[in-house]
Amino acid sequence: MKPSDDPLDELLDGTDFEILDDTDFEILEGIRAIFGQVDPMPAGLPERVRFSLAMRGLEAEVARLAAEEDSRLVGARGAEQSRTVTFDSTSLTIMIRIDSNKNGTVRIDGWLAPPQRREIELQNPAETLGASSDEQGRFAFADVPQGTARLVVRAAEQDEGGSGSAVVTPAIVL
């Protein structure tokens, strides 16, 4: 086994498994082959699993759309659409304001309540954008393509596993 500084690598390489010899591995392979034949997993099962998972989304805590309002700000540049959307989950309220940029993209300014540092992801079908909220719970995405997207609020990088589970919003159209 190659030496490693990382105890994790050692685990991953199964270092302690030197005690099984080739015959043991052959026996296990043989058992695998037999059970694979005499009692195979139903062929459609992975697909059914995949489907049911896709229906549920990836996160534990699902925020719901709590409020949405449109306002037209009439300024020097003419009519400009701004939209405010609020999501509620048991642990967090997420409010975002969506403003259109001149180049056809949108800008998103968000606030978390209660205010806290978190990693924020904006996921759309093509890519995932990242941002962090500050101590006041503020975050922003300056340049977001229009279309369907959802937000995922995760634990802040420095306190992994600490401040609460990830929260995911329903998809909205930007």
């Binding site: 685990l11 099984l20 296990l28 997993m41 990836l58």
Partner: protein
């Protein structure tokens, strides 16, 4: 003995699973789909090894994957994923079994699926001579050994250690003594070979 197809190196596989786990934690449904495609057979055999019928085993596999969604971000690396899945599947399978319905030995149709002698009708599974010898040996083991070996046979090789530790049943025990289940199989196979020679 059996010719195993050469597995990809453990480190390659680990790196790939680690990447998939990362991506799934990042919200990639595709990565999660790949993980479920790769590991569902293992879950199936873990569930069936506890004696569940096929419908219940399917339900258990679904339930475990759904439950994983709630724990995905807690799982730090691939072997932890595999052992979490095995342990959760086993626990869930036993929970379903203990509800007391449909747990007749007769439901274990795979027990009778393999003829002891030559393969017969086309409905029956065709195993070669070596496989039949192995099957006869495995069938003589205690239920616990049969379950353990069935589970471990479907665990990716680099994850044997963490899984067998979780199950409290070392596959290859620590030190010079080989794990008793595998040792027993080897002894039975050796007996059979001697018997054939005699």
């Amino acid at each position: 003995m059996m010719n195993a197809t050469a597995p990809t190196g453990p480190s390659d596989r680990n790196a790939r699973m680690a990447d998939l786990l990362d991506a799934a934690q990042g919200g990639s449904e595709d990565a999660l789909g790949q993980i479920t495609a790769e590991l569902s057979p293992m879950l199936w055999h873990v569930a069936r090894a506890t004696g569940l019928n096929t419908d219940d085993a399917e339900d258990v596999v679904q339930t475990v994957w759904e439950r994983l969604l709630f724990h995905l971000t807690d799982i730090r690396f691939a072997p932890a994923l595999v052992s979490w899945l095995v342990v959760t599947t086993r626990r869930e399978a036993w929970r379903v079994r203990s509800k007391g319905r449909r747990q007749l030995p007769a439901e274990q149709e795979w027990l009778t699926a393999v003829p002891d002698q030559a393969a017969g009708t086309e409905e029956q599974v065709v195993l070669d001579e070596q496989q039949r010898a192995l099957w006869r040996a495995v069938r003589q083991l205690s239920e616990q050994c049969q379950e353990l070996l069935r589970i471990v046979a479907f665990v990716p090789r680099p994850d044997y250690q963490s899984v067998s530790a979780e199950l409290g049943m070392p596959v290859g025990s620590i030190g010079p003594t080989r794990g008793r289940c595998l040792a027993k199989v080897r002894a039975l196979l050796a007996d059979e070979l001697d018997g054939r020679r005699a």
